[in-house]
Symmetry: C2
């Protein structure tokens, strides 16, 4: 009976998600958390066609429709934004009509060179890092909102996958921390700009220190000895966050809408740190 | 007697300041607040030689040494940073020796297009604005710190002229707010990176809504009607901050060192809002 109810509700609304950085550790986990119901379209965005196909294959057993945007390179923000929105336009146009909700999950991003303090950055490094981690983010935010607001979508959500570093500074995270702070603040402004438009919400979500490649890279490269030891201990003691856990939490939060638009939510606001 | 004491102290330390955006309303006020004592070298940084010469002429009656770096264009971050540091290197090399304090005041910056919401930004606009207002800032921070730490300077300070927008979001300020948040966070990371090096401090200073051209532009262009009316009222009622007042406050604060490194200080933390 509850199955029948949720099935009826599911038919009533089509959910269209785009997930950038879909081939990374967290991106895969987010796709895994989203895939399932037949009322969902999930657009996987990344650079490598083969890696995206692998992620799509992993979600093929679900009832959700999986789409791919390959060749999306954050070093080319305008083209990448255009490619994502173009695919979303096609997906929305092919829907049978009825209620639609659009969600953009901006998970793409790179670590800055954690071996370096700010005074060791090169000018080209600053420029290219900022392009990939902020300009591409802002460009896709702009083009997604422009597109989405032109549709009949009843709910439009931009999710910024951010970090504790956006709100707390640590040594050796200069460019990463600065660009995450910029992303968070852009989300707050978008929220203010839609204070009178309940369709549009933004969320900045800090997924925590994740098990996987990215944390291994942090442990291997971070120049600050205190942090290196801290992360090594968390790794040894199994205190890193499981990607599937944090992905489930953010997807549930977005689906429920139970957050203040523009806010920064940390995984440890939603669950206790691993014992 | 106190004159004699302060004169001895003054001879003991050479103060070298570089001020970017030196030809703008606040830049001129900062130069005015700094110029005076004979132990000060002030490097005025900007694009226009003639505008810089005009500012220099205004400070010529002081006992401070005034230097100019013209042609510094934040749209070319590497060249601009190089030009500033090259001049500072010359100024420091020409000092007679003894104690030196180096201060970089990063006041250069532009308003973003306040008529636009985030979804109206163009990709090129996002890229070029970010270059001028964050990449150039970070590049100069990096090169200045690298240079300064290689000298015998006993105190090295980076001042980020920021805004309330770095910490509070308002509609139509997307790119401005995001890049100011990024600048603030970079300053916090630099502070963390020098937690064990008391020579180096950073300060993010929000000068307030200033009388002058920039506020006139805000009132003329901001898309949000509530803010337009609010700023017009502040203007009518004489409640905008006088550039000379806020410039004096930040210069005194930097000189005294009476702030926590990495912190964001607002003009209204230091004085009551105009009656």
């Amino acid at each position: 009976m509850s199955n029948s109810n949720s099935s009826m509700a599911a038919q009533a609304v089509a959910h269209v998600y785009a997930v950038t950085g879909a081939t990374g550790t967290l991106g895969r986990a987010i796709v895994g958390a989203l895939a399932g119901p037949a009322d969902r379209h999930i657009v996987l965005v990344g650079r490598s066609q083969s890696a995206l196909e692998e992620v799509a294959a992993g979600a093929a057993a679900s009832n959700s429709a999986i789409h791919i945007v390959a060749g999306a390179d954050a070093a080319q923000p305008a083209q990448a934004a255009q490619a994502v929105v173009s695919k979303l336009r096609d997906v929305v146009a092919a829907l049978p009509g009825g209620r639609v909700r659009l969600v953009l999950v901006q998970n793409a991003g790179t670590l800055s060179d954690l071996s370096k303090a700010v005074d060791q950055y090169g000018e080209d490094e600053i420029a290219s890092y900022t392009t990939v981690n902020f300009v591409a983010f802002a460009a896709l935010t702009a083009r997604f909102l422009e597109f989405a607001k032109g549709t009949a979508a009843e709910r439009i959500t931009v999710v910024n996958i951010t970090s504790l570093l956006a709100v707390k500074a640590f040594a050796n995270w200069g460019l990463y921390a600065a660009t995450r702070a910029a992303r968070d603040q852009l989300m707050r402004v978008v929220a203010e700009e839609h204070a009178e438009d309940p369709r549009v919400k933004t969320l900045s979500y800090a997924p925590g220190p994740l098990e996987g490649d990215m944390q291994a890279s942090v442990r291997a490269t971070v120049g600050d000895a205190v942090q290196r030891e801290q992360y090594a201990r968390m790794h040894r003691e199994g205190k890193l966050v499981r990607p599937a856990d944090t992905a489930r939490l953010v997807c549930d939060l977005v689906h429920s809408g139970g957050y203040e638009s523009g806010s920064h939510v940390d995984v440890f606001d939603l669950m206790p740190p691993p014992e």
